[in-house]
């Protein structure tokens, strides 16, 4: 079951790699949030207790609903142009992502021979981290950078669900709170950047140099 959701998660990465629309990124973030929630619900099917529902629900609210809506609001408010303005061709970007996914799978299979490891979620989580970094590297718009950061965070989260010892709930909730505040602050900063530099791209940020 975990593998099914992980594969679906992997498909979202392909979509991120080919799309030109900023809005598609937001949709993907919401879908990823929902997939992560399902992933957390799977162990609850066997032994249900009302207390352990809190975490998946929080994840769903933060990652699946609040953050996508917030980013969408910023996009509308700041009137971001709908295209993402990549710095490299989409086809090369897609090839890069595919290559990364293949390599992480091969690497995870190799690692699974030395330690016990769930190959598919581990590899997908890592691919997602890399894809997030690529988005930050190869896109000009700062709002897309924020989306890339969140894709990366989702990858880390997927990774953490397959790692043996689970973090206690207070800490997971703390992580969610931190993530939410980061995105919130980035939103405010973007707002300021738009009004200060009358632009929205990473090329505007070149005042500070050695």
């Amino acid at each position: 079951m975990e593998n099914v959701f992980s594969i679906l998660f992997c498909l979202t990465l392909f979509y991120v790699a080919v799309t030109y629309r900023v809005k598609a990124y937001v949709t993907i973030l919401a879908i990823q949030g929902a997939l992560l929630t399902f992933l957390l619900f799977i162990p609850l099917l066997d032994n249900f207790n009302p207390f352990s529902v809190i975490l998946p629900l929080t994840i769903f609210v933060v990652k699946g609903v609040v953050i996508p809506i917030y980013i969408n609001k910023i996009i509308l408010k700041l009137d971001v142009k709908r295209k993402i303005e990549p710095t490299i061709e989409q086809i090369s970007f897609l090839s890069l992502v595919i290559l990364t996914i293949v390599l992480t799978f091969v690497f995870s299979i190799y690692l699974s021979s030395i330690t016990k490891l769930e190959i598919i979620p581990f590899a997908v989580g890592f691919s997602s981290i890399f894809t997030g970094i690529y988005i930050i590297m190869f896109r000009k718009k700062l709002i897309v950078h924020v989306c890339g950061f969140l894709v990366m965070e989702n990858g880390i989260f997927l990774l953490s669900t397959v790692v043996a010892s689970e973090l206690p709930m207070t800490i997971e909730l703390g992580v969610m709170l931190d993530l939410f505040v980061v995105v919130f602050l980035m939103g405010i900063a973007l707002n300021r950047i738009k009004s200060t530099f009358s632009g929205f791209e990473v090329t505007h940020l070149d005042r500070l140099k050695d």
């Binding site: 950061f149 965070e153 790692v163 043996a164 010892s165 992580v175 931190d178």
Partner: protein
């Protein structure tokens, strides 16, 4: 429990209170009381080895007692000068920042104390991220383009770095598979006791990710850029706070994982990484000093250099480790004096560019002299503390298995000393007539008083360190498994 209440809950409570209080002076008074309380209590906790039962995820040990003392020392002085400093702001826009300045300082204190006191990697991670979030809006105090860019870069780069550290923490938990702590909590102490059982591959991977991730916050090259931009463009008290305490909070995370790895066969690997990172940082500072054109940036690079020296000491080990711990304390005090005098100079000249500032001694003698003294202190001239801590580190390197590092270090430090000196003396002595001055006259205000007190403190601590600092530091060094 009482430590938990005083160190973490009390500042949080005050922060919530400040949300309701709108008067700046009142906010200042409340923050000052919190800072004073924090300082007094952390001093008691440090000198008496005091400890009581804390809630889960928090625990006092030798290392965090010491770092807590450094934090509250820096914080107290910074808050003390903050009111005077922000009242004489440079631009009108900065007035909006008044509403959250002291509030966020208190949140910073609470989250930073939580990060230091945590005994669990998860809790540490959450608190360190919270320190980033509380300090980011403070960097954007002046509301100008540079500050905005610095804040964005700091927020983004450090969040990315901390995300990397999180991957490292996941790997650490993977390394405990098939051991007796599998599936357990990520407590530092349980990992240290079971260090030998951990899977070396995951442990090494974990160290790489945590070290590189936290480097963005410590300012270890080549990940130092976001941190340097932020320190150079934040208001001076915040820059002092970042250089003196925030970087060390990130460093303690690296020290925790290093402490685990110390007792395994992967120790040499981790040690080499630490030394490479440290030397690269000193080289980064060395290169920048040749082309420096901004004196606050120069000080930010000086922080990169000194955190590099501290990391080098940690990596070399034994007596150098002891020196590194001492260096952390002295460096934090020096940085406050340097940034405060730089902040005053910035007020007088309205520019951070080196060639727009000269004749400081003629126009503003008090700030000029303090700047020279702080430069002497940071360069390791006796009787200031840095001289002794650097000497201890040098001695440690010389008797270690890597004595050639000392030659490289000496050459780099010599050129940094010369170049920084050239810039500093040009600023204070050179006189040109067509210089534009914003400030009229240098009065002896609270900022100068604090600087003078700190200079005295630096000498007093250096001369009495063997009595009240060193015994505790020796304990910490032994806990790391180093021989002295």
């Amino acid at each position: 429990m009482i430590e938990f209440l005083i160190f973490i809950m009390f500042p949080l409570f005050i922060a919530a209170l400040l949300f309701a209080i709108k008067d700046l002076k009142l906010q200042y008074m409340f923050s000052l009381i919190t800072g004073g309380f924090h300082l007094a209590f952390s001093f008691i906790v440090f000198t008496n080895n005091f400890s009581s039962k804390m809630p889960m995820f928090f625990e006092l040990d030798g290392l965090n007692r010491y770092f807590l003392l450094i934090l509250s020392n820096v914080y107290f002085w910074v808050v003390l000068v903050s009111y005077k400093f922000i009242k004489e702001r440079i631009n009108e826009e900065a007035k909006i920042s008044y509403s959250y300045y002291f509030l966020l300082l208190n949140v910073y204190l609470a989250s930073n104390s939580a990060a230091l006191l945590s005994n669990h990697f998860g809790m540490y991670w959450v608190s360190v991220e919270a320190t980033t979030l509380s300090v980011a809006p403070l960097i954007y105090f002046y509301k100008n383009e540079e500050a905005l860019e610095a804040m964005w870069k700091y927020l983004f780069v450090v969040s990315l770095g901390i995300a990397f550290a999180f991957i490292g923490i996941l790997f650490l938990s993977l390394s405990s598979k098939d051991t007796s702590i599998e599936g357990g909590q990520l407590f530092f102490s349980s990992f240290i006791t079971h260090a030998k059982e951990l899977n070396p591959i995951w442990l090494k991977a974990s160290f790489i990710f945590i070290f590189i991730g936290l480097s963005t916050k410590i300012g270890i090259a080549p990940m130092h850029n976001g941190d340097v931009d932020a320190t150079a463009n934040a208001p001076s008290p915040i820059a002092a706070l970042m250089s003196g305490s925030l970087r060390l909070t990130a460093l303690i995370g690296v020290m925790r994982i290093f402490n685990i790895i110390k007792f395994t066969d992967s120790f040499q690997f981790a040690r080499t990484l630490l030394i490479i990172g440290a030397v690269l940082s000193i080289i980064a500072a060395f290169i920048y000093m040749f082309k420096a054109n901004n004196y606050k940036r120069m000080l930010a690079y000086s922080s990169v250099e000194h955190l590099g020296i501290i990391t080098l000491g940690l990596g070399i080990g034994n007596i150098a480790f002891l020196g590194a711990l001492l260096h952390a304390f002295y460096n934090s005090i020096c940085k406050i004096i340097l940034f405060l005098s730089a902040g005053k100079i910035h007020r007088f000249y309205g520019s951070r560019e080196i060639n727009k500032v000269n004749g400081v001694l003629k126009h503003f003698p008090i700030s000029g002299w303090l700047f020279i003294i702080a430069y002497m202190a940071i360069s390791g001239i006796p009787p200031f503390g840095i001289f002794f801590s650097e000497l201890t580190i040098f001695e440690g390197i010389l008797i270690s298995d890597l004595p050639f590092v000392l030659i490289l270090l000496m050459i780099l430090l010599l050129f940094i000393f010369i170049n920084m000196g050239k810039i500093t003396f040009n600023m204070v002595y050179k006189e040109e007539n067509d210089i534009k001055l914003l400030g009229k006259k240098d009065s002896f205000d609270i900022i100068n008083i604090v600087s003078v007190l700190l200079v005295i403190l630096l000498v007093v601590v250096a001369s009495s360190a063997s009595k009240f600092l060193t015994p505790n530091l020796i304990e910490i060094t032994k806990a790391f498994g180093y021989a002295l």
